[in-house]
Symmetry: C2
Subunit: 218 residues, 2 copies
Amino acid sequence: MAEQESTREKIKASAQEVFVERGYDGARMHEIAERAGANKAMIYYYFRSKDDLFESIIRETFREMFTSIGNLWTVPFTEPIEIIPAIVRVHLQFLYDHPHIPQMLGREMHSGNPIVARVIHQVFEEIGRENLSRFGQLFSNAVKLGKIRSVDPVQTIWNILGLNLFYFFTKPVIKTMWKTQCADEKKLLQIREQAIVDLLLYGLLPRQESKKSSTAQK
Amino acid sequence: MAEQESTREKIKASAQEVFVERGYDGARMHEIAERAGANKAMIYYYFRSKDDLFESIIRETFREMFTSIGNLWTVPFTEPIEIIPAIVRVHLQFLYDHPHIPQMLGREMHSGNPIVARVIHQVFEEIGRENLSRFGQLFSNAVKLGKIRSVDPVQTIWNILGLNLFYFFTKPVIKTMWKTQCADEKKLLQIREQAIVDLLLYGLLPRQESKKSSTAQK
DNA sequence: TTGGTTTAACTAACCGGTTAGTTAAATATA
DNA sequence: TATATTTAACTAACCGGTTAGTTAAACCAA
């Protein structure tokens, strides 16, 4: 009983590894089996086909992603100067803890694989849509109260996600271009976090306010 | 003579198409040949192997990308309120005109394919490094002159690129989530451009300045 | 307890089809 | 003729998926 459970889980784990590393087309069933320490036929014993296995992996990935994004908006939207840093921090930490997600998405997003398209749609309807409208509400309220400038909530979500995801989507290029700076990734991400929050709150143009922006750096 | 040139070019063109659509692993040599209206053996006549063909395609893609990013900083950095909208506009227009670039990058970036890693490094040394330090100079000057707040130039590049690239990297997901809004892509990108410029210049927090920010919307 | 039966988990060998890459001959061109 | 293109036919390796058969534990009747 413990053994049968573990073989299926081992296959799922190694399948995720291989699909992340090599993509759908590059993934080989015999490599998935090898890494799981199982016979190739066992994959077909637990999953019907390569497509079936891939679908279960990618569905889990999208569930993780939408859930994490949804969790960002569960905090009450009181003071933007506190909430926005919190959102950025939670999201960056999630991406750091689950590097396979941006990697998998970046790889399979443009593949045109109908499995990917279908799963995106299903999981969004299942989890994403609700979280999204919730954020729209919270954000519009903050605008009405004058806590933030009058901006489009959808575009603002895209802005936050774009700023956060950029490093993780382009990591291989970034690491080539700024080799020395990327040596200590944990520190790099701290700097990145500060820079993102600073831009989101204050923008680039100088401010004449009494409260000096504290997180600007050089 | 005209014919030999054209067959080689036809192969390169169709190879780009197929590599963009299907990725390195998904691309089939016979499909590349078919689309070029040539026999499969012609590919091996002009290019030694699949790797060789792929390398020449991806090298051209990275050259286009680095050149375009380099061109963003050639404008003299005078008034940020004029320059930053110009940078964003030129970059978004380039991405719109060359959709294969973010698509190809998104697909092959995390592949670990050693060809990709080597070409990134070579093309960056060839084109990218110089453009990069040039922007650092321009930007630091603007900070010294008090035209913009004291922010890190590298992080600011990442911010601008992240904001601009997000839509193009995540287009398939975005289109699923906001179906209706994405019907007219040209208009969507205009809204996106305004939102990016607005964030870069003014941030989210309210401003007490006399000059009201004009591009805020909704 | 004993010996037979069922069942889930597993394996080695195999199959049909596909793929990157080759070759040698034919054709066009100069 | 000599050289540059183009082609059909081919191969060796590979890949997703199947099959026939094994193992060992659980179950069950006498």
